[in-house]
Assembly symmetry: C2
C-alpha cells in the first residue's frame, strides 16, 4: 500500500466508520452527571481500545481526581517534532429531553446529518483524528510519517478542572511542539475556516455588605444602606451609556484592531436583522464605534454573569438586605492580562462602593490569557493549505469571542501553540437539543487529518 492509497482505504471504510461513530454516540458520557461516572470511564476505555486498534503503541488511561483522560503517543523518530491531537469524549447533558426529535443517545441519520448528543461536540471530530492517523500510518508501513501524540479528555464540559494536572502527570506521553485541537468548527456548510485568536478570561465575584444583619424596611429602609441598592448603583458604573467599560485603565493595554484586522473580521460579517430575529431581540447592545463582529472578535468586554441579594421568593418580604453579590467575567484581547484586569476592577469597586458599605472582590479560578495564533507556524500553514484543497476555497480566518483554557494550558505547560481543526457547523446545536453533525464533514474530516500529517511530513 502506498501513501496515496490511504484515501481509497478511507473511502472503502465509510460505512464502517459511520457505524463506529454511532457506537460511540450511544454512550451517554455526560461528565457533569455523577450517576454516569461509570459511563465516562467506559467511554475512556472505548477510546483507548480504538487508539490501540489504530496501532498507537503507547496508550494509557490517565486517571484524575474525577474523570480520566486517554493519552497516547506514536513516536517514530525522537529527533523529529511531535504534533499533539486534542479532543474530548465527554458530552453536555441532553436535557430538556422533550425537545429532542429523536432520543439523544440513539443516533439517527436524517438528510445527511447524524443527530445525537455529542455528534458535533465532539465525538465525530475526535474519531476523524484516530481514523485519519490510522489510515495514513497503515499506508506508511505501519507508522505515521511524523511523531503523533493524543490527549482526549473526559472533563471538557465541566471546565477541565484536572486537565493541567493530567498533562503534568503524563508529560512524557503528551509532550509536543504543536497542538491540533479537533474541538473546532467550520465557518459554514461550504466554507472552511481557521481560528486565529481566542479571547482571554478574567473572572471575579463582588460581595457587598451593609449592616450586620438583614433589617425590617419599615424601621430601617429609609435610613441605612440597602445592599441590593448599593450593589445596583455600583454595578451601573461599569459601563457608560455607549457600552464602553468605565474601569480606569481597562483599555490601556488593548492593541487596537488594524485595518488588516478589520478587513479580516469583515469577512465574517453576518446578517444583523436575522441575528436579532433569531434571538428575539429588537435591538443589539455594545461598545459604540465598532461593528458587532469587531466587538465579538476584537474588543474586550466586562460581562455581568449573575447577581443576587435579598428576598427572591414568591410575594413580598419587606427586608432591607444587608448582602448582595455580583459575578463578573471579562473577555480579554491582546495584550490584556487577567490578573491586571482583576486588580483594575478591584480598584474601581473600592472607589465606587457606596458610603456605609464594604466590598470584597474575590478573583475566580479559571482565568486565561488571550491567545493569538502564531501564523508563522508550520502546522497552521499546513492546515490552511489542506482546507483550501479539500473545500476548493481558501479558509476564512476567524477569531473567537470565546476562550479555550486548554489552549492556554498547552502554551503554558508544553510551550506549544494550538491550531483549531474540527468539523462542527455553526448552529449544529452543541449544548442544545437535536445536536447534529454532517456525515460529509465527518468523512472529509478523516481525509483532512490524513492530509495534514502528509503535509507536516514534508
Amino acid at each position: 500500500m502506498t501513501m496515496t492509497d490511504w484515501k481509497d482505504d478511507l473511502k472503502a471504510q465509510e460505512q464502517a466508520h459511520v457505524d463506529e461513530l454511532l457506537e460511540l454516540l450511544r454512550k451517554p458520557s455526560v461528565s457533569t452527571d455523577p450517576t454516569r461516572k461509570d459511563v465516562v470511564s467506559e467511554t475512556a476505555a472505548w477510546v483507548k481500545a480504538r487508539l490501540e486498534k489504530a496501532g498507537v503503541p503507547v496508550v494509557k488511561i490517565a486517571d484524575s481526581a474525577l474523570h480520566p483522560s486517554v493519552v497516547g503517543r506514536w513516536e517514530v523518530d525522537p529527533a523529529q517534532p511531535t504534533v499533539l491531537f486534542y479532543g474530548h469524549f465527554d458530552v453536555q447533558p441532553a436535557e430538556p429531553l422533550e425537545l429532542w426529535e429523536t432520543p439523544p443517545f440513539e443516533p439517527t441519520i436524517r438528510d445527511g446529518r447524524i443527530y445525537a448528543r455529542g455528534s458535533s461536540d465532539m465525538k465525530g471530530s475526535l474519531l476523524t483524528v484516530i481514523q485519519g492517523v490510522e489510515a495514513v500510518a497503515k499506508a506508511n508501513g505501519g507508522q505515521p510519517p511524523i511523531n503523533v501524540a493524543f490527549i482526549f479528555e473526559g472533563e471538557e464540559e465541566i471546565g477541565s478542572p484536572n486537565f493541567r494536572q493530567i498533562i503534568l502527570d503524563n508529560l512524557d506521553i503528551v509532550k509536543a511542539d504543536t497542538v491540533v485541537s479537533a474541538d473546532g468548527s467550520q465557518f459554514g456548510p461550504d466554507t472552511p475556516s481557521l481560528n486565529v485568536a481566542w479571547k482571554g478570561l478574567a473572572g471575579l465575584q463582588v460581595n457587598l455588605k451593609g449592616a450586620n444583619s438583614d433589617l425590617h424596611s419599615g424601621g430601617y429602609g429609609s435610613t441605612v444602606p440597602n445592599a441590593v441598592q448599593a450593589l445596583v448603583q455600583l454595578a451601573a458604573t461599569f459601563h457608560d451609556a455607549d457600552g464602553r467599560v468605565q474601569v480606569e485603565g481597562f483599555y490601556d493595554s488593548v492593541i487596537d484592531l488594524t485595518e488588516d484586522d478589520k478587513a479580516e473580521i469583515a469577512q465574517t460579517a453576518f446578517d444583523e436583522e436575522q441575528f436579532k430575529q433569531d434571538l428575539g431581540l429588537t435591538a443589539l447592545w455594545g461598545e459604540k464605534g465598532w461593528t458587532p463582529q469587531q466587538r465579538i472578535y476584537g474588543r474586550p468586554t466586562l460581562d455581568l454573569n449573575g447577581i443576587w441579594g435579598g428576598f427572591q421568593g414568591e410575594g413580598v418580604k419587606t427586608v432591607t438586605p444587608n448582602e448582595a453579590h455580583l459575578k463578573i467575567t471579562c473577555r480579554l484581547v491582546k495584550d490584556q492580562h487577567p490578573g491586571e484586569i482583576v486588580e483594575l476592577i478591584r480598584t474601581h469597586v473600592e472607589k465606587h462602593a457606596p458610603a456605609g458599605t464594604t466590598v470584597e472582590v474575590v478573583p475566580a479560578a479559571g482565568s486565561a490569557d488571550p491567545y493569538v495564533v502564531d501564523r508563522d507556524n508550520e502546522v497552521y500553514r499546513a492546515a490552511g493549505k489542506v482546507l483550501a484543497e479539500l473545500h476548493g476555497t481558501e479558509p476564512v480566518l476567524v477569531r473567537s469571542g470565546g476562550t479555550i483554557p486548554a489552549t492556554a494550558i498547552f502554551k503554558d505547560v508544553l510551550h506549544a501553540d494550538t491550531v483549531s481543526y474540527g468539523w462542527a457547523q455553526p448552529g449544529s446545536g452543541a449544548h442544545a437539543p437535536n445536536e447534529w453533525y454532517r456525515t460529509e464533514d465527518y468523512l472529509r474530516g478523516r481525509v483532512a487529518v490524513g492530509r495534514l500529517l502528509e503535509e507536516l511530513a514534508r
Copy 2:
C-alpha cells in the same frame, strides 16, 4: 364588689396571671410551620376557653383557609358603641435555637423579664386584654361597662392572608366603632407612647427579559443586551445621589411634615452614633434634607428588597443572562396610595428599560394605605389619659415606619380607627432569639386595659 375593687382583684391574682402567661407561652404556635398546624389550633382553643372563663358570652373559633382566629362579643347595650380588641396568638419561628439562652418554649423569668418566644409579640399583651376586661366585668356586676368585642388571629406572623375574610364572615360578632390593638409597644422602659401613624405599603416585582435564551458570553456578551446589566442600569435610576426617589410623581401627593409634626418626631430622636455602631455601619443613607427620624416616620421610601438573575453558583459561568428580576416595596405616607404608586413605577420602568429588553411590572398582593390615627377620637384620648396616669408621664406620640395591614382592613371593612395599646419594649427581641417581656409591663397592662374600659364608659 365595686368598680374600684377590680384593681385589688388584679393585684391578688398576679401570681395566677403570670402562671397563666407561662402556660400560654409553652405552646409553640408557630404559624409558618406546617408541622405545628395542630398547635396553632390548640392555642386557639385555649384562647377561646380563656375568653369563656372571663365570662364573654359569645366566643367562637372562626375557621379560615389555614389557621383559625378566635372571635368574641360581650354586648351590654346594642344602642351603645363597641370597642374591638385585636391581637394574635401565633408566633414567629424560634430558630436559630442555639442562640437562645433558655429554650424558647420553656418560659423562664430572669431579672423581672419573662423570656420566651411570643412573650413580647404578643401573648403577654393579649392576656392583659382578657384579664383586664374580666376584672372590670366582675366588679361591674358580671359584665363590662361598655360593649366589647375580640378578634385574636392565628396568622399574623404569616401576613394575615385570611384576616379580611374572617372579619367579613364574622361581622355580627366583631362589628365595632373603634379598634384597640394590643399588638403594640411602648417607647421605653419608663416612657409610654401612643402610635399616631403607620406607613402604607406598595409592592411589585420587575421582570426584565433580553434574548430568548441565556447566551454564551464569548459569542454574544459584547453584542446583545445582558439582562443583569440592563436591570442594574434600570434599578440605578430609582434614586438620585441624594437618596431621593426619581420616579416621576412619587412625591406629588405627599403631605409635607409640618413644624408641629417635626417637633413631635423630634421627641423620638435617638443616638445616631450608637445606632450606627449597633448595626455595624460607618455611614447612614437616606433622602437628603431630613433627619433619620423624619425619614423613618414621615418620608416615603422605595426599597429594593431583592434582586436575582444569571449565574449564582460557585465559580464561573460565562453566561450572558436573558432574565433578571427585582423586588420592590414602597413605604407610603399620607396621601399616597399603593395603586397609584405602582402605576408611577410601571411608567418609570417602561421609560427606563434599556433598548432591546422588555419589562414586566407585577403588582404584589398585600398593599396597604398609609394610616394616620384620628386624634379626635374618644378611645385615643382615653388611652392617652390612662397611660399618663399609670406611668406618671405623658405618652410620647410616635409614628411607625412600618405597616399594619389589619389596621387598614379594620378601617376599610368596619370603618373603625385603630388605637395601638400594647406593652412590648423596644429591643425585646420580637422575631429574634431571647425574646422577653417585662413582668411589670404585663401586670400594669391589665390595669391599663381595665382603666381604658372605665374611661370609655364615662
